[in-house]
Subunit: 192 residues, 2 copies
């Protein structure tokens, strides 16, 4: 692996995606997030909305299971996961970049010159932020955040067999609610 890569895992509403974009801008490197979804979608034949749904749910029937192998997964899910791994490895071969989400830290571990990051924040901060950024819905924002946390944790657990948000699995974990998004970007750009 030739390039320095930053992977950002993030709690919903923590601003981790914004941190990733601002960091990439500051460093003058690429940031892959929705672009990555699109690329996977185009090349795999999966629709963009299917992949988005898939990342944030792993489908209700598997959500709390702790399977470590993929043998119980429907073939579409296995195919999507494998394709996602392939795409991410190709992207990091192209040049230094920031990758937000997609278990990229797990996919690239032991193979890339990585800086692995986890961005989190207090639930109240995140609930307020999703209303500001994505708008209000009929569902209470605290419930939206809790539901998404559960789904991301389940997805992460399902595909990586590790516990999401365990400090030891990242080089840097930052509370964006307390430190502020710009300060997070500053720290990460210094560490890069």
């Amino acid at each position: 692996m030739k390039h320095r890569i930053v992977t950002i895992s993030r709690e919903f509403g923590s601003g981790g995606r914004t941190v990733g974009r601002m960091l990439a801008d500051k460093l003058g490197i690429s940031c892959y997030d929705s672009e990555l979804i699109e690329k996977i979608a185009l090349e795999s034949g999966f629709s963009e909305s299917y992949i988005k749904d898939n990342e944030d749910s792993t489908h209700g029937r598997f959500m709390y299971s702790h399977f470590s192998s993929h043998s119980f997964l429907p073939s579409n899910d296995v195919y999507l996961w494998k394709f996602q791994c392939k795409i991410i490895r190709e992207l990091v071969d192209k040049g230094p970049c920031v990758i937000v989400g997609r278990c990229a830290d797990y996919i690239l571990k032991d193979t890339a010159d990585l800086l692995t990051v986890f961005i989190h924040a207090d639930i109240k901060f995140r609930a307020d932020r999703i209303v500001n950024v994505y708008g209000a819905t009929d569902t209470d924002p605290i419930q939206r955040v809790k539901q998404m946390d559960k789904q991301r944790a389940a997805y992460h657990r399902f595909y990586t067999d590790t516990k999401w948000g365990r400090a030891q699995d990242y080089h840097v974990c930052l509370d964006s609610g307390v430190l502020g998004i710009e300060k997070c970007v500053d720290i990460l750009s210094q560490l890069y």
Copy 2:
């Protein structure tokens, strides 16, 4: 609470105590660690070695229990815990400082202007470091690190009813093995 306080939780061998001392030196503020033990020891009547043993074991019979109340603790342990809380609160009233270990983040939560930090590192890095810093013993250093991790996790769980090393419980978590101890000090001094 008038003063800015840094609390550092740390995995054994990660250099968290060194980070704390270097940070305090850089900021020109106090660092409490063995000093704190001594202070507790002198004022409580507990011997220094008893307190050291107590932090790192919570006594074998309780090690893996998940009691959330203190009603099952022997009275000496309850007394020590309460006294430790009192001492820490008094220390932070005196001025800005760094406190390493002692569940200070938990003791001070909601009451102090805190920066809560968790320092961790790969087990190989920590095993090598404890041999360099503390010297070799008859026990394999990897086993020494694992044993101490278990004990600290049990102590933390026992007294705080939270899981040690959960990223969301700290403002900043840093991998001292990958980032280096001096870089950790730099980041924390900027965030202070």
